[in-house]
């Protein structure tokens, strides 16, 4: 009897939990309500099935308790009943599958006149690209990546010259416009996921993938990487700012084109390098603590290491920490930083940048 | 209740335990090789595929493997007839030429490396080394099994007792030959 009572509590609790759960879909901010609908239909059907079957089980346990003087009924099979149950289940499955497939058809059908944006993922940050005036993305190649050419664009391709580069993990989008994302990764698998938009798709190095949505609510939304990509996977956060058309155009006009970035100066500045290489995923410039030590007010300070030494955080320390991070780990931090093989120019630029983050 | 000589159920397949085991093993190995071929065919369509030259030695090696199979066939027949001398000769031929094949394959590897066809420089190279490597390892496993049976034949007076094991080994040899022919054909035509 104890079992029946406890199991009944579990079953009822399971159903009631749906009414009181504090964790539910985030407020929908895109056109993909059909995905929510499919889930809700699934909840109803599976919920009903769960209650019916569980109730039947508990009924049997109560009604058919063991008794010496009884015998169970001897019924090896009942083909008619089996057939009926199969048909009912098949119908249930079709009711689930049909709306799901209809929604999928819509999901994979990229709108032809949508706003084109490219999302580029890397360990452990995001960057973005718009195709610019000509509406066509410039060619890219994996072998062209460098900390200066952080999108791997082919400088000889005229289509790429006007591409607008967002070398930042925040991108802006205009509200109520269907937006088609082309997705690309520089290194390993990542996944572009904004819970409020519902859509997600992996970024696969060596190929393109796509997703599309229409943002319907103005606001700022977080991009959460949804495919394991190494020790910084949980810190790979980006932002999508949805705003009205005018504000969007204003923001876009302030962003540089590829041609402009190529003219920026030799090694690029340190701030660009740390953004383009993803250092910002773990190090902040404002004093906040993160996976790695903050750069603010750090240059030329004394620092304790996990081995008990005290070192000076000078230029050579910083360069060593980039080329061979595991040599000295700052105390209180984990030994998770991968090594970066940078040129002397790039290293100098970073040192200068970090130096400038110290208040005099 | 009457005494039954056969105290087990009617067999699904009129095969011995060892035959079921080995045939099923061949099915599993086939699936493994099918996956490799699948990956090969998928990869060869990409632009960076550069076909390897055809080392002449591969033809000689193929001949060795054919000779090995013939040796095993001979051994198999000899064991059924209880012909001990022919049996030992057949086993010897089967084992020797399988080893000659393997050594020949290693020499081919050496030749390719000396011509700068390294394993990682091109996917065609990688697949060549992978396929010949996996095939070679499976053949080596067969040679180990053959050694066990050959050892047993030393201690038994009547080789008919080994006829079922020998014919299964011969089947394995023929299978390895067929697999090699398929892969060799694949290399030649791509």
């Amino acid at each position: 009897m104890a079992f029946v009572i406890i199991a009944a509590v579990i079953v009822v609790g399971t159903v009631l939990f749906n009414l009181v759960t504090p964790w539910w879909f985030t407020p929908l901010a895109s056109n993909w309500g059909s995905l929510d609908q499919t889930i809700i239909i699934s909840l109803w059907i599976t919920g009903i099935a769960f209650v019916l079957v569980s109730a039947f089980i508990l009924y049997c346990v109560v009604k058919f308790r063991y008794s010496e003087d009884r015998r169970s009924s001897y019924e090896p099979e009942n083909q008619k009943l089996e057939l009926q149950l199969t048909v009912i289940t098949a119908i249930g499955v079709i009711i689930l599958l049909a709306p799901g497939l209809v929604a999928w058809q819509s999901y994979i059908n990229l709108p032809e006149n949508g706003l084109q944006v490219e999302g580029v993922g890397q360990q452990w940050t995001w960057s973005f690209r718009f195709p610019g005036e000509d509406g066509v993305y410039g060619n890219t190649s994996g072998s062209l990546f460098s900390s200066k050419n952080t999108f791997g664009l082919d400088p000889n391709d005229p289509k790429g010259q006007d591409d607008i580069l967002i070398r930042d993990r925040q991108v802006h989008l205009p509200v109520n416009q269907p937006t088609v994302f082309q997705l690309r990764s520089k290194d390993v698998l990542h996944d572009f996921y904004v819970p409020q938009f519902r859509s997600k798709m992996d970024l696969v190095p060596g190929q393109h993938s796509n997703l599309w949505f229409t943002p319907t609510l103005v606001g700022t939304y977080e991009i959460a990487c949804a495919e394991y990509c190494g020790t910084g996977h949980w810190a790979m956060r980006g932002e999508v700012v949805v705003e009205d058309e005018a504000a969007f155009q204003q923001w876009l006009a302030q962003q540089p084109t590829f041609a402009q970035t190529m003219n920026e100066g030799s090694a690029g500045n340190g701030q660009q390098i740390v953004q383009s290489l993803g250092c910002v995923a773990c190090h902040t410039d404002n004093g906040d603590s993160a996976m790695g030590p903050t750069w603010k007010d750090s240059f030329n300070t004394q620092r304790n290491t996990t081995t008990g030494e005290t070192v000076l955080a000078d230029a050579s320390y910083i360069k060593e920490s980039i080329l061979n991070p595991s040599a000295k780990i700052a105390s209180g931090f984990a030994p998770v930083m991968p090594a970066y093989a940078l040129s002397e120019e790039e290293l100098d630029a970073i040192v200068e940048y970090i130096n400038n983050l110290s208040t005099e | 209740m009457s005494e039954h000589k056969t105290t087990t159920e009617q067999l699904i397949l009129k095969l011995s335990h060892a035959q079921v085991f080995v045939y099923l093993l061949l099915v599993v190995i086939t699936i493994l090789f099918l996956f490799v071929i699948n990956a090969y065919v998928f990869r060869m369509n990409f632009d960076d595929w550069q076909a390897l030259p055809d080392p002449r030695l591969l033809w000689v090696n193929s001949g060795s493997l054919i000779a090995a199979s013939l040796g095993m066939l001979w051994a198999s027949k000899a064991s059924k007839n209880g012909n001990r001398d022919n049996y030992k000769l057949g086993i010897f031929v089967g084992c020797l030429f399988a080893l000659v094949f393997l050594i020949g394959q290693l020499i081919v590897w050496q030749q390719l490396i000396s011509l700068d066809y390294f394993v990682a420089s091109n996917p065609a190279n990688t697949f060549f080394y992978l396929i010949t490597g996996i095939h070679g390892l499976h053949l080596l496993g067969g040679i180990v099994a053959l050694a066990v049976v050959a050892y047993k034949s030393q201690r038994l007076s009547d080789v008919v007792l080994l006829s079922s094991q020998t014919s299964l080994l011969a089947t394995y040899w023929h299978y390895m030959l067929v697999v090699w022919v398929v892969f060799f054909g694949l290399f030649l035509t791509t």
Partner: protein, 576 residues
């Protein structure tokens, strides 16, 4: 060629000395115990790893030593250990080895020497896996799915060290062990059954283990090939799966490979793998539920056909793990359809178990409690699978805690409940003693309620969108603080459930030597393993003469008979 149809023509191997009896034994019962011991031991390691993960999620910062590296190593090793080295080895190596010859009326497996070899090779694979904990930079932290490129690169623990290499080598060795054992099982089931034991008179657990073995033999080669190619990419810098990669400020020396190819290979193995775990659990439930409800299993033939259908369809659903992996989107239609189709035979099995209870005579023994708990938790786990299989519903839910909740329910909670039920049920057969009932019930309740409380709420933070494989949620505003509270609650439940497993262990050890002596066939079961002359069965199982089978294994409640069960080897003339 004359059929070597019977053990009666072949001498049974007789062990010599202590080593031959207990260590290098070729007796399937000893080998089963060896598999079980190693699997449970490594399973405890896997459980402790999961508790370390839970400490980070529930009480972040409490243990400084759990940094992002060690967290991901815990996640990865926990997953791989549990799926492969515990569940697959215990269900197939442990239960399979013990039950197949006994339930089929055979003296031992078709090839006892190969059977013994398979155990030692399995042990070798476990030792190789453990050794990865002791290499510099530790074991791999690539996630149990080991996806390239990250799994073999710096930035993932063990990626540029020995961790990933040892994992892959260990898997290759395991697959060799599995192949040896699996071929043995198939041969034994097909060719070594007692007279009268036709295929359609085999107990369902044997059908399940038989089909699971088939699945393994056909699916593991895909992992084998994928693993070897990944090792090549790691050690020889080939590019099977490695495209051009810009990392650490430089373009790496790879190019042209496809990470999605690895996923296809992995999941072609990976999906049948979950049925390799689930099917034996189904089989155990079929045996337990009919025996403890004193009623024949409902719809035996449909159960067999459902199993065959599940096994066959399981090979064409794999890419439902890859809906958002960047593969051709039109494949989504195909795989969603096949995935939801496989729900139908699975549902039939659930109906048949449930209908077995209808007009039954149910004894609320510990095994029956586990059966009922299995049904409830498998319902949850199976039904949530319908959400994920439906391709568009999977889009928001993929890689969130909804998936974590789902797969733990179907792989960890329900099969483990079935497993525990099986241990309680067959313990008297193995040891001749009963497990303590009271301890059994305490262990049951804590495990059942505890695991439900752990995994059920996860589905809802999945709806919220909390991604999986996150070391910490603090970076994200859309994740409220209440999720942290839930994580704390779940961790506490996990610690309690983890601790309660030691009740089972204690029960095992004490009852094995001091438990109440079991009468022969204490549960009144019809299947052959309880009908041996000696209990526990001696070497060779059947004494002088193999049994002869006259009926199916579920003759419970036969009208007109005095006893409420008739064992399989009792002819009609002897029924009173």
């Amino acid at each position: 060629m004359e059929q070597s149809a019977t053990y009666e023509g072949q001498p049974l191997h007789h062990p010599k000395g202590w080593w031959g009896h207990y260590v290098f034994s070729q007796d399937h019962k000893v080998i089963a115990l060896q598999y079980t011991t190693v699997a449970i031991t490594i399973g405890l390691v896997g459980m402790i790893l999961s508790l370390m993960m839970r400490m980070q999620l529930g009480f972040p910062g409490l243990f400084d030593s759990i940094d992002a590296n060690s967290y991901y190593q815990d996640v990865t090793m926990h997953g791989m250990i549990m799926v492969i080295y515990l569940l697959t080895a215990l269900f197939l190596g442990g239960f399979g080895n013990y039950l197949i010859p006994l339930m089929l009326g055979s003296r031992d497996m078709a090839f006892p020497f190969v059977n013994m070899l398979s155990f030692w090779v399995y042990l070798l694979s476990v030792l190789i896996l453990i050794s990865s904990f002791f290499v510099p930079n530790g074991p791999t932290g690539a996630g149990w799915t080991l996806y390239p490129p990250q799994s073999i690169l710096e930035g993932t623990p063990g990626g540029d060290g020995l961790g990933i290499v040892l994992m892959l080598v260990s898997l290759v060795v395991f697959i060799i062990a599995f192949t040896m054992g699996g071929l043995n099982y198939i041969t034994t089931v097909l060719q070594s059954r007692a007279k009268g034991m036709s295929l359609m008179r085999m107990p369902l657990v044997i059908w399940c283990i038989f089909l699971a073995t088939f699945l393994g033999l056909l699916a593991f080669p895909a992992l084998f090939v994928g693993g070897i190619m990944l090792v090549f990419d790691r050690l020889l810098e080939t590019s099977f799966f490695m495209p051009e990669i810009f990392k650490g400020g430089e373009v790496l020396d790879y190019g042209g490979g496809s990470p999605v190819l690895f996923q296809h290979l992995f999941w072609f193995f990976g999906h049948p793998e979950v049925y390799i775990v689930a099917l034996p659990a189904f089989g155990i439930i079929s045996e337990l539920i009919s025996c403890h409800a004193r009623k024949n299993i409902f719809g035996y033939r449909m159960m067999v056909w459902a199993l065959v259908a599940i096994a066959a369809i399981s090979f064409i659903v794999w890419a439902h793990h890859m809906y958002v992996a960047g593969m051709n989107p039109y494949l989504g239609f195909f795989f969603a359809t096949t995935t939801l189709i496989i729900a139908v035979p699975t549902a039939i099995k659930v109906y048949n178990w449930v209908l077995t209870l209808w007009h039954a005579n149910i004894k609320m023994t510990v095994p029956m409690l586990y059966c009922l708990a299995f049904l409830i938790t498998f319902l949850i786990g199976g039904l949530t699978g319908l959400f994920l299989g439906n391709v568009s519903a999977d889009v928001p839910l993929s890689d969130t805690y909804f998936v974590v909740g789902h797969f733990h329910m179907v792989m960890a909670v329900s099969p483990v409940l079935a497993l525990y039920g099986g241990l309680y049920h067959w313990f008297p057969s193995v040891t001749g003693r009963m497990l303590d009932d009271r301890l059994g019930k305490i262990h049951f309740w804590i495990t059942f309620i505890g695991t439900y409380l752990i995994y059920f709420p996860m589905h809802y933070i999945g709806f919220l969108g909390v991604p999986r494989r996150y070391y910490s949620n603090e970076q994200f505003d859309f994740i409220p603080a209440s999720v942290g509270d839930l994580n704390q609650f779940i961790t506490i439940c996990a610690l309690l459930v983890g601790a309660s497993q030691f009740i089972l262990l204690y029960n095992f050890i004490v009852s094995a030597t001091r438990g109440e002596k079991a009468p022969k066939n204490p549960w009144g079961a019809c299947t052959l393993e309880w009908q041996t002359l000696e209990a526990p069965p001696g070497h060779g199982n059947w004494g002088d003469r193999l049994p002869v089978v006259y009926r199916w294994p579920y003759e419970y409640g036969l009208p007109g008979a005095t006893a409420d069960f008739i064992p399989q080897n009792v002819p009609d003339e002897q029924i009173t």
